[in-house]
Symmetry: C2
Subunit: 308 residues, 2 copies
């Protein structure tokens, strides 16, 4: 048995006016709760230090730079790193990254139990749009404020397991899980900020949106025999509702823990990494069953091309 | 609206001793029922003319050749083709194909409404094993009796829609749906013979196996904005139980029809192909969102290679 007790630290809303220090204080409370529950790994949401700012349009992109972190850790987040080191709890969190070269990414990091950053992922599948869209009920400007991630989908060995990350909309793309699956991933950690309302199809409904969120994660878990931990930032941010629905999914694609609120809420599950072995050696033993000679379009063609 | 009324013609068990003519008589009854319900397309299961023979071991593979069809249509199936032409109902069915060169495939065909064969698919993801496996509760010798399909995942235009096929275990592999999705598929038709018991994990249970069957099809439908019609051969074949669970899934990944028996049973649904458009032009507009520069492993590496 290779057990990691994991805490999925769902977070409630963060208002525009909330300072990072107040957010980190909430993260510290979740961390303490997780440590008490025996967790050695805590997963926080996407862009967890600020409100989901891509809903706000700035004609001048630079006006959004104050939502970004120029270094990590920094003054605001150092208390989290320090306390995590004291407690021996590794963590993963998402934030808006501004590089020394002035590039912008939607980023997630992973630490070891000494709070050293051992992994970084930059979101590849940015949803939304670049320009103001008058046809939407609300804006979703990730393609305006970020460039697509340039690091691929790496994995890392930590706590005796193979770990990878993705972010939000990535969870809907089977390529994401598969590229990590081909590297033997046993635990995929992701955070998300998902509006409760589809800005282009308002009658979709929360129930269906939660189902879609589950569907990608459960299929990705099952089809790659990996644990998946998906963590929401949820609730009403300055009048804009985000859905909850944080889940922990086992390597059989079964949901083993689920958030019930749209607020700060910790899910805890003892995840046995050895549970990945059965699928990886039988029905999803890729070496025996995959037929890459028929997959070429996936890597050679970006868009759909229907027959004439 | 581009509506196709589709019949998913689940079939109950076929015993070893049942002659093909008796099976075709059952298929004709389902065809008549479908035509009365307004269907212009009927989907039958995998290997629907015989029992699921890959559960039976023959040391001499040629002894299994009597389960194969050397031509299609042939004497046994011609009544189905003739009646379908009279009724103007297209159909798709699975059978074991023996080619003039002596090659063996697990094959599915698609006809137009004049009963002309317009498409052929040969199963790519063969599950199971080649040699007698004493550790299994029952044998699953598809890798012994078939070679992997050599036709890729083509699509065809028919009845004003883009149609593709896959077979049984293929439905668990996201690559299958994606390769067709990249060709604009709007309807994926598949049949399956899925044992009720996992031969290597007997405590898995029927409920979980039905969930896994749904999961692959619903995720494939949602992630490619396509209809999926999955049709079981079900019930007890000579003491070996096969699960039912035939479903029709809409392009939002929602199950809109589900079989309730393990016997001959027709599901009917009016499938509007225009329902594929929303997903294909928004969240799953591949041209805008896919990042093939990060998918390379999917096409270049067959098996999983964990980090050192």
């Amino acid at each position: 048995m290779r057990e990691i007790v994991i805490g999925a630290a769902q977070m409630g809303p963060i208002q525009k006016a909330d300072p990072r220090e107040a957010v980190v204080a909430r993260m510290l409370a979740l961390l303490e709760e997780a440590a008490k529950a025996g967790c050695t790994l805590v997963v926080y949401p996407e862009l967890c230090l600020t409100t989901f700012f891509p809903r706000w349009y700035h004609e001048d992109r630079a006006e959004a730079d104050h939502w970004f972190e120029a270094s990590m850790p920094n003054d605001a987040t150092r208390p989290l790193f320090d306390r995590a080191r004291d407690l021996g709890v590794a963590f993963s969190l998402g934030y808006a990254e501004l590089t020394p070269e002035g590039r912008h990414f939607n980023t997630q990091i992973l630490t070891d139990r000494e709070a050293r950053i051992i992994g970084k992922y930059r979101k590849v599948h940015l949803p939304g749009h670049v320009e103001w869209d008058p046809d939407r009920t609300h804006q979703h400007l990730e393609k305006r404020y970020f460039e697509p991630g340039d690091l691929g989908f790496p994995v890392w060995r930590s706590q005796n397991a193979v770990m990878g990350m993705c972010i939000c909309n990535d969870r809907r793309w089977p390529e994401v899980y598969r590229v990590m699956g081909l590297q033997g991933v046993e635990l995929v950690m992701l955070g998300y900020n998902t509006p409760t309302v589809n800005s282009q199809s308002g009658d979709e409904g929360l129930e269906k949106r939660l189902y879609h969120s589950d569907l990608g994660m459960c299929a990705g878990a099952y089809q790659n025999s990996t644990w998946v931990v998906g963590v929401a930032k949820a609730g009403n941010e300055d009048g804009h509702p985000l859905m909850g629905g944080s889940i922990i999914v086992d390597p059989d694609g079964m949901v083993v823990a689920r958030a019930t609120s749209e607020d700060d809420e910790l899910l805890v599950h003892a995840c046995d990494m050895d549970k990945c072995t059965f699928g990886k050696t039988t029905i999803f033993d890729f070496a025996r069953h995959r037929r890459i000679e028929h997959y070429g379009l996936i890597c050679s063609q970006t868009g759909a091309v229907p027959p004439p």
